[in-house]
């Protein structure tokens, strides 16, 4: 029955609710960040200084660009331009990959310096610094997982658009995936200043 008649407003409504749950999922981590920052302001500043702003800034640019691309791809599909939609989706997916590669190098550098959970080096540092890196890895790790999921989702939509199952009259799958991608971007917009800029 749902195949016959699609409720677009309902589908988007459901997606928005789901996005709220994702925000709350990260909300738990942001609460921890707030509490521990309050408790260890000096240690957080010291540990935050270890993070490389360049890595963070590049990733921010990559994600913002990808968000623009996915938004444009929806408009392109609405106008019936399938080729452009595919190109823009490809740009988004490529951005997701660039983000992950960048994150890989960033994490590798940290781990190389002995800054990873349960590392001997971290145990020597003050408790506040240890908890900072714990939060850093969990938060960016969870966000990275969302980048992977979002990228996979967009890749799936890419195939759907190419085969014509998602088209100018039926594009809610693309729109909802786009919303998800915006969320991934949005959460990063909070992570970037909290971990890289204000400390």
């Amino acid at each position: 029955m749902s195949e016959v008649h699609k409720d677009y407003a309902g589908a988007k409504f459901g997606m928005w609710l789901f996005l709220f749950t994702e925000l709350l999922l990260f909300g738990g981590l942001f609460i921890l960040y707030g509490v521990y920052l309050h408790r260890y302001p000096e240690e957080f500043v010291k540990a935050g200084g270890e993070l490389n702003v360049v890595f963070g800034a590049v990733n921010t640019l990559v994600l913002l660009t990808s968000s623009l691309a996915v938004a444009m791809s929806i408009t392109a599909l609405q106008k019936g331009n399938r080729r452009l939609t595919l190109v823009l989706l490809a740009v988004t997916i490529a951005s997701a990959l660039i983000f992950l590669v960048n994150k890989y190098f960033e994490w590798s550098a940290k781990i190389h310096h002995g800054l990873y959970p349960d590392s001997p080096h971290l145990k020597e540092l003050a408790p506040g610094e240890s908890v900072f890196f714990g939060l850093y890895y969990v938060t960016t790790g969870l966000h990275g997982l969302h980048v992977v999921i979002g990228g996979a989702l967009l890749a799936w939509v890419f195939v759907q658009v190419r085969s014509g199952r998602v088209h100018a009259e039926d594009f809610v799958a693309l729109e909802n995936s786009g919303l998800y991608w915006h969320l991934v971007d949005l959460i990063w917009i909070f992570i970037f200043p909290l971990y890289y800029l204000i400390l």
């Binding site: 509490v35 349960d118 408790p127 714990g134 890895y137």
Partner: protein, 543 residues
């Protein structure tokens, strides 16, 4: 309306008729029909409930005498942990919303199905996978988890038992719960039949609506909390470890931010069931429809702000204790609004004391006892005295089992004849109810008293002074157990061999009673148009 009361002919099998697309079991586990998914949930939930009951009986048996009675301490720890995990995450939380919500929500609002039927099926699959993992944690890894269902750090991080798998199982079950809630909210917003205004929603729908919001807004916090325990165990991030700057109290905050609202995920749908049943068996419109509807939302809202009362003894500022205590007392107000409205509905009603009403009445009494003893725990001064004693165990069994459990039983006796088109034996149902009611009170009242005297919860052994009350409780558990098994025996027999009933055996005025029993696959032969409220028996032509 006499001919709708009892029909002699065998019922049309409706949605239960074998399907053409898949055969046998596959026509169920791949079905996107909300009623089939509801029954999948129902029978799996009942199976887990009976597993949990068996564990509970074993725990009580172990406590029959001080010292070792039947099992070692480690096994005892594993038993109460699994009893808790099964009962909370596999029975009470999904119980009424996932089973009965799926079965009747779309029918009650005049829809053909839920908004996202395939997502609905995914929810059940996630439930099944999570359940399999939770039970699998018993037999794999370092042995059955022994942390209690709350997974408190630091023990849950240090123990070598299979906590990781159990925590991941609960994470998956939480996902299932979120998707069900999301589906219901969308369904209620988008799929109501013409004429089904918000003011005409059955009160069960109102309660499911409030529940669904709590499911969507609270469950993610549990997800992240358990994910953090997992990461902590696997990688040693130290976020809850004081030696590395973490704080175990933060775990308790995050855990209870979900798990206290979860209490309302458990009990609100039960209140909805009661609100639907009482008018039907009192043959009177629900007294204070709006107050009952709004109080559901109020309970959901206020109940989300009281998590701190679990932590009065964990070390909080006095101000925080005061605020959380006040907020806890505030939740009693909308709960009491409901109770008074139910009683007012019964007042001067033409009451027929059928099994669903018996369970509904015991819900009111037992939940009231549970709620009032909750105030003892909500007041910091008395809480310090009875914190983590058997008094708490008695209290939450009164609210959860006496509340949600009784509502679940009431819902079974109320709606199963609709779903299967056949009636169970009402006499046996009444006897089973009596056994359950008596056994229940003997069991949990003894627990409360022994808790008041100072017996701690979760303990394997106790001093001889507590022996008599523990024995009394254990005997109560036997009576309760016999009642529960008799009830299910009667229901199962009824669904297969009972007398066929007509469309409306109880004389209800909500939409599900206007379609055939069992309902056809798309619920209604003719799309319904709603012209009157859910408890307007005159307009429905029943009175």
């Amino acid at each position: 309306m006499a001919e709708t009361h009892l029909q002699a002919t065998a019922p049309d099998r409706g949605f239960l008729t074998p399907r053409e697309d898949y055969s046998g079991l596959f026509s169920w586990i791949f079905s996107t029909d909300h009623k089939r998914i509801g029954l999948l949930y129902f029978w799996s939930i009942v199976t887990f409930f009976l597993t949990g009951v068996t564990l509970g009986l074993l725990i009580r048996l172990e406590l029959f005498l001080p010292g070792k009675t039947i099992v070692e301490a480690q096994t005892y720890n594993a038993m109460f942990t699994l009893h808790g995990v099964i009962m909370i995450f596999l029975f009470i939380i999904p119980g009424i919303p996932a089973a009965f919500g799926n079965l009747v929500l779309p029918i009650q609002i005049g829809a053909k199905d839920v908004a996202f039927p395939r997502l609905n099926l995914l929810s059940w699959w996630l439930y099944a996978i999570g359940a399999a993992m939770a039970l699998g944690s018993l037999f794999s890894g370092g042995g059955a988890p022994d942390t209690g269902w709350t997974f408190y750090v630091p023990f849950s991080v240090q123990t070598t038992t299979n906590v990781s798998l159990a925590a991941f199982a609960v994470f998956i079950l939480g996902f299932s719960s979120i998707l069900t809630g999301l589906n219901f909210i969308t369904t209620i917003h988008r799929m109501r039949a013409p004429g089904m205004s918000w003011g005409r929603l059955p009160l069960f729908i109102w309660s499911l609506y409030a529940t669904a919001w709590v499911q969507v807004l609270a469950t993610p916090i549990l997800g992240i909390t358990l994910a953090l325990v997992l990461v902590e165990r696997l990688l040693g991030t130290g976020l809850f470890d004081p030696t590395r700057g973490g704080d175990p109290i933060m775990f308790q905050h995050l855990f209870w931010i979900y798990s206290h609202p979860a209490v309302y995920i458990m009990v609100l749908p039960g209140m909805g069931v009661i609100s639907d049943i009482i008018p039907v068996f009192a043959r009177k419109p629900a007294f204070g429809y709006k107050a009952i509807a709004v109080s559901s939302i109020a309970i959901a809202a206020a109940g989300s702000l009281v998590w701190g009362h679990h932590m009065f003894t964990s070390g909080m500022s006095d101000m925080a204790v005061l605020v959380f205590s006040l907020l806890t007392f505030v939740v009693a107000i909308p709960s009491a609004v409901k109770v008074f409205n139910w009683v007012a509905t019964l007042y001067k009603g033409s009451i027929s004391l059928d099994p669903p009403l018996l369970f509904a009445l015991s819900f009111i009494l037992l939940f009231a006892i549970g709620g009032l003893t909750g105030l003892v725990l909500g007041a910091p001064a008395t809480d310090v005295h009875v914190h983590d004693t058997h008094f708490v165990v008695g209290h939450f069994h009164y609210t959860m089992f006496g509340g949600t459990g009784m509502a679940f039983f009431a819902a079974m006796h109320y709606w199963l004849p609709k779903i299967y088109g056949r009636m169970y034996n009402k006499r046996i149902a009444t006897i089973a109810w009596g056994l359950i009611f008596v056994g229940f009170n003997v069991l949990y009242l003894s627990m409360k008293v022994v808790g008041m005297q100072g017996m701690p919860r979760r303990y394997y052994d106790y001093i001889p002074e507590f022996t008599r009350l523990n024995q009394l409780a254990t005997v109560g558990s036997w009576i309760l157990g016999i009642g529960v098994f008799l009830m299910f025996f009667n229901l199962i027999r009824g669904t297969f061999r009972g007398q066929p009933v007509g469309d409306n055996p109880w004389g209800g005025a909500t939409l599900e009673w206007t379609t055939s029993s069992p309902p056809p696959t798309e619920n209604f032969e003719v799309d319904p148009v709603v012209t009157h409220g859910p408890y307007d028996f005159k307009a429905a032509g029943i009175l």
